[in-house]
Amino acid sequence: MTAEAVRVHRRKLVNNVMLGATGVCAAGIVGVLLFILAFLLIKGAASLDLNFFTQLPKPPGELGGGLANAIVGSAKILGLATLFGVPIGFLGGVYLAEYGSRGFSFAVRYTTDLLNGVPSIVIGVFAYTLIVMRAKHFSAFAGGVALGIMMIPISVRSTEEFLRAVPVGLREGALALGTPKWRMLLTVVIPAARDGILTGVMLNLARVAGETAPLLFTSLGNAFWSPGINSPTATLPETIFHYSQSADPDWNRQAWAGGFVLLMLILATNVIARVIVTRGRPKGIR
């Protein structure tokens, strides 16, 4: 073989090896996801029983307890978070997409990105100093505010993105007919972006549903049902955390079950959101 041919052969070899390696990387990462899913499926689903969904926690050492209050507590706090974070985020997104002014828009965008980067534990500390310390009790409300703040940046960004994607023609048509701007937005633009905005909310919820750190100092935890929104409340991630730190095998088992339920809900939300968005998108656009 000539030197040239040898070189070419080597380059081809390198080519195949490296490209193969990238494939291995991708496969490996997907493999990790599949492993996590499979592990939680096997361990968690096996740990699920009716008690898990219907019973309150029992004292350590006693069997038969469940995470019913944690499930309801999580739902309650996520509801509060959505009530607090989504309207602000949504309207902020509308502002950036439809109204903005040069300087102020920049400020809003910058602070939104800033807010997005704040570690969740820091937001928990903030909610504690702002609400819990002043109100003198832990509460679902404080937890809801903490998670709501975390929902704002994503809400802003996704609302803006999906509003901008609405064709200009739709807007111009409405305005040409004499519709005032607010009405155009309300009846034409926003409904057109509805799918996207809805998925944005879903993805947002899926993200904060798993957050534990901000809840440690805000909603604290509860062995009983929590009436209203002003008492400490049990939540799924916080309970999973505490139970996972324990040497009690029954608590560990409940933590696996809880982890399974939480992960399934989050992943299902992600998948559904994705389906809604791609269904609406014309083919060929990624």
Binding site: G61, N222, A223, W225, S226, P227
Partner: protein, 343 residues
Amino acid sequence: MTTRILQATAALALFAIAGSANAQTQLTGAGATFPNPMYRKWFDAYNKLHPDVQINYNALGSGAGVKQIIEGTVDFGASDMPMADSSLAEFKTKRGNAVLHFPTVLGAVVPVYNIPSVKQSLKFTPAALAGIFLGTITKWNDPAIASANAGVKLPATDIVVAHRSDGSGTTFVWTDYLSKVSPPWAQKVGRNASVNWPVGIGGKGNDGVAASVKQTEGAIGYVELIYAVQNNISYGQVQNASGEFVNASLASVSAAAAGAAANMPEDFRVSITNAPGKGAYPISSFTWLLVPSKIQDASKRKVIVDFLKWMIADGQGMTEALQFAKLPAAVVAKESKAIAKIQ
């Protein structure tokens, strides 16, 4: 479609918010993990007796119990470390009144370990424990440990120390004991709910240390007795002030409290580690509920007072099943009178 969704969401929201909002009094407490199994059992039983009362206890560690009661974010705290004078003063400054200590049970802190080849209960001298936790004794077959355990084949595994990462009354009891029996320890580390551990990995709560020990071969940690028993973790005997190796038990813990019971101070703050006397388990401790002396909310005040009265009477009958020793009669009598101080 949208209106329907909105209606459904509103209904759900109302349901969630209303929840079980019948005329219920819910109290929130936070603190020690040491007595957590006992407290959870008590509050569960009390709730069955009085369905309109829910006492929600969060075991976050004694340090958190003290902090949160000072901040006023919980109705009562719980700690195995009596509040320091500085904490009492801080409470007075921030809350305007005093905080009262109410002993609830007696417990023992035991050295738990994970050595698969050793099934027996190991004997630990004070010097051995201090050396292990100081990091000067690093292998299980060290002479300091082997000398007290003739006939037991100790492996040459590394010792992994597991301690608390959070502020802990259990840590206080453990370090209080080590400070009393080991001058190097007293000088280097001292006694407190949070110390600068020379070696080891940190776990959260008694649970976390128990879990660390269970998951790590060669590990040694310190937990309240019930955590070792409920989770099937081997624990050792400790040599007491009289030189005997004592196993933590109801009898040995009660023996440790005998002296203190007779001379209990007014505020109930006392340490009973390394207690003199035959058969006394040297790492025993009272644990306390921390209650403000003035409680504004009348219904909450009533609940706390009623619960405390129930606790020192019927509640004491439930302790032994969970390996906690009852309060000595003298202490109960004194406490009875102290409950009246809650305004």
